[in-house]
Symmetry: C2
Subunit: 161 residues, 2 copies
DNA sequence: TATTGTTATACTCTATAACTATA
DNA sequence: TATAGTTATAGAGTATAACAATA
């Protein structure tokens, strides 16, 4: 890397001035999310589970029998984009789609025994993942940090547009 | 909405148990990022500027003459995906790509007068946007929150894989 | 040989419209 | 008529390979 860049103004990769972005919460939260997902994937790639899949498995586990569209709602995705992901989980034998006997349009979702076993392994990785984040931000900040995120994620739900 | 769901177990959209996800920082940060981007877009859609474009304009403003690949590095995107975005900004007359006279391979980036004027308007919206976030999380938490985000975004840069 | 900007390409994620079968 | 699941499709965002011009 040639350091003789007395060019127009700046050409180096280092010494970039991020200006207002240094303190911009929106910018910081975007970069943080990318970093945390990268780290998540390092913990879960051996088990071949992505963040959205982990969320789906946990919600199905906690709410056995819920409909697909209820799961989509809970995860904040379109029900139309839920189909492929559930297909994949079902083909791996992790979930069951049972026909509801009350409303024959809907599918009730359940974890299989294999799905429950995998979730146990996922919890171990998840705990390591969370602990690593907590070490990064410092134990004394964890509660405030979590509280702030919860407020943004939930309290802004139906915003004052 | 029929409330007579005495089905298999759960079928309603409400009363979903999020289990471990309620306290999962990775999950909370993903949901928060979606919410903040939605709110950002409400503030900036009239000016037809997206988050990544705002970041690019601010960095070009603070580092006049920097190369495209330096900007891509700063924003954490591939230089190949920078091209289309800079094309759009240039076609709107917001930036200039000047041929560097030292290294004729590279393009030096500058804001045009029109780009600088727009950035002024963007700052106004940005300040409103940030203030709204700060009101959501509470003034006393802002500093800790920003500090946590910075630690995750930067300190995890070259992680201990 | 390596790097800058570029094109072409592909893969993921997400959003919309329309179909079927049930209600 | 409205809803649940599905399919097809289109748009973003992001990743890699390869090329021409230049270093």
């Amino acid at each position: 890397m040639s350091e003789k860049n007395t060019n127009d103004s700046k050409s180096n990769d280092a010494n970039i001035d991020y200006g207002i972005l240094n303190d911009a919460i929106g910018y910081l939260i975007r970069r943080s999310q990318i970093k945390i997902f990268q780290e998540f994937n390092r913990h879960f790639e051996a088990l071949e589970i992505k963040p959205a899949q982990f969320s789906a498995l946990e919600i199905i586990n906690r709410n056995p029998g819920l409909r697909q569209s209820a799961l989509a709602n809970a995860l904040g995705v379109q029900r139309t984009n839920m189909v492929g992901m559930l297909d994949a989980l079902q083909e791996r034998g992790l979930i069951d789609r049972k026909l509801s006997n009350e409303d024959k349009r809907s599918h009730a979702l359940f974890l299989t025994r294999k799905g429950q076993q995998l979730l146990g392994l996922l919890y171990d990785q998840f705990n390591q993942h969370e602990k690593q984040i907590e070490e990064t931000i410092g134990q004394c900040n964890v509660e405030v940090f979590r509280e702030c995120l919860s407020k943004i994620a939930h309290k802004l739900d139906s915003s004052d547009i």
